[in-house]
């Protein structure tokens, strides 16, 4: 049985209709552009678990890429997390100290963990791409804050969990939180003028010196971390945050990374 479409094509002089199925006319330029587009899509780096998590939490795609791809941040985060864990386990497993002494040691050292993490997240000595970052149009303050918040959240979460391991602490188990915010924000504010590691060193030494003094004042050393210190820590944190915002432009002019 003949095909009516084939018959019609033959009558129209098209010959064998199968000959029409030859190579389609192709615009090489358009083909090249499309090929490059496809090739470009194939380059897409697969998002890490952290990137996917941040996206689910509503963090923008570019910000998530910025945070997770930041080279220095991985090390800073690792240091913060490992530091918190090691410290908490060492305190918890210590058999020589009494309960109150353990909590004082914990409260003295815990604020230094996020401080160390933030110090290792930014600057010329820790981030190999620092010069590229400084020459880029992105807001340097935004990058600093994104990195600092990421490290801070990670280390505070781990420290929070670790503080449950400290025996006989009561509410003092979380008395490191406001001091941690205070020292980290103070070091961050100082980073607008000094190298971040130097700023962290200055603030860390200052914090240790302060605690050495204040723990000898009350009868019970852990009382030194009471409401008065918490209130002062909140005030210092607020003041440091204000200075940080006020000096935000200094993160863009190259001083911070030098």
């Amino acid at each position: 049985m003949s095909n009516p479409i084939e018959d019609e094509l033959r009558r129209a002089g098209a010959g064998d209709p199968r000959s029409l199925a030859g190579p389609a006319p192709v615009d090489p330029r358009r083909l090249g552009v499309n090929r490059a587009g496809v090739d470009a899509l194939l380059l897409a780096p697969s998002p890490s678990w952290l990137e996917r998590l941040l996206s689910r939490l509503g963090v923008g795609e570019a910000a998530a890429r910025l945070v997770t791809a930041t080279p220095g941040l991985r090390r800073a985060w690792l240091v913060a997390v490992l530091g918190a864990l090691l410290f908490a386990f060492s305190v918890a497993s210590s058999s020589t100290d009494t309960g109150p002494d353990r909590i004082v040691t914990f409260l003295t050292v815990a604020p230094l963990v996020p401080l160390l993490g933030v110090a290792l997240a930014f600057g010329s000595g820790v981030d190999p791409t620092n010069e590229t970052l400084m020459a880029a149009p992105i807001d340097g303050f935004r990058v600093f804050v994104l990195r600092a918040i990421t490290v801070l959240v990670a280390s505070i979460t781990i420290l929070g969990a670790a503080s449950l391991l400290v025996p006989d602490g009561g509410w003092h188990r979380v008395a490191w939180l406001f001091p941690a915010l205070a020292v980290t924000l103070t070091a961050s504010a100082l980073s607008s003028r000094l190298d971040p590691r130097r700023a962290a060193t200055v603030v860390g030494v200052g914090w240790l010196a302060l605690t050495l003094v204040i723990v000898n004042v009350p009868e019970q050393p852990s009382d030194a971390f009471g409401l008065a210190l918490q209130f002062v820590s909140v005030l210092v944190a607020a003041a440091a945050a204000a200075v940080l915002v006020q000096r935000r432009s200094h993160f863009d002019i190259g001083v911070a990374g030098r």
């Binding site: 470009a40 380059l43 897409a44 020459a135 149009p137």
Partner: protein, 247 residues
């Protein structure tokens, strides 16, 4: 939009007692400018000042007459800037395409599909597209240098500041990079610090020679070749001699 002119006005940069850069007045306009000088002559300091990485201790960097101390001017320059630092400064654990994508985010290129297109284009320019999914630490020194060049090309910037882009490159790729810089110089303000005067200066529109932070020669490559090195500075004779013998 035409490529901008960068002007150093009374710029000085000191590290303790050492003067790394001392440039009373210098304007670098569109075209390819090669900066020659031996180690420690101030090439990298000049590159960092031009790339706004280091604000000068004294003096100012101007873009088309506007000081980069103004945030808008600095931001505008950075949006039009590609920069290759002296050290490769690459994160070893990151993958090649991931790194380019990260730098594209720093350069405010978006959305993601656009960043990928620029990544593909820039890696193609330096012949690294087939290594896109490799970790940077697995690349050779020359490949890492080409990757550093690739990130500077993202967004096709109007200003390129390249600090020894030809370091670690084999002769073939050095030639390719030189040709690329010559092409970029036709449409942009391209400044190249180099130890290989015979390659870059031969295609440059202008040559600067730095000695102890000061500009001791500023002119076309042919004029430098004519001088032959003796009057340019005794300490720089070897570099100038190498160039003049090949010109």
């Amino acid at each position: 939009m035409t490529a901008p002119a960068l002007t150093l006005h009374g710029v000085a940069q000191r590290f303790g007692a050492i003067t790394a850069l001392d440039v009373p007045a210098l304007t670098i306009g569109p075209g390819l400018t090669a900066v020659l000088g031996r180690n420690g002559s101030g090439k990298s300091t000049l590159a960092r000042v031009l790339a706004t990485v280091w604000p000068p201790d004294v003096g100012a960097l101007l873009v088309d007459g506007q000081p980069v101390t103004e945030p808008e001017v600095r931001l505008d320059l950075r949006r039009r800037l590609g920069y290759v630092a002296q050290d490769n400064a690459l994160p070893p654990r990151m993958r090649v395409a991931e790194y380019c994508d990260y730098v594209a985010v720093l350069k405010e290129i978006g959305p993601p599909r656009r960043r990928l297109q620029w990544t593909h284009w820039s890696l193609t320019q330096v012949g690294l597209v087939d290594r896109a999914s490799d970790r940077i630490r697995t690349l050779s020194g020359g490949m890492q240098r080409r990757l550093a060049i690739a990130q500077s090309l993202l967004g096709s910037p109007e200003v390129l500041v390249l600090d020894e882009p030809d370091a670690s490159l084999d002769p073939e790729h050095r030639h390719r990079v030189t040709a690329m810089m010559a092409a970029r110089g036709r449409t942009s303000t391209t400044v190249v610090m180099t130890h290989h005067p015979e390659e870059v200066a031969a295609v440059a529109d202008r040559v600067l020679v730095l000695e102890q932070g000061r500009v001791v020669f500023d002119g076309p490559p042919a004029e430098l070749a004519q001088r032959g090195g003796g009057s340019v500075g005794a300490g720089f004779g070897a570099v100038v001699g190498a160039f003049s013998s090949l010109s």
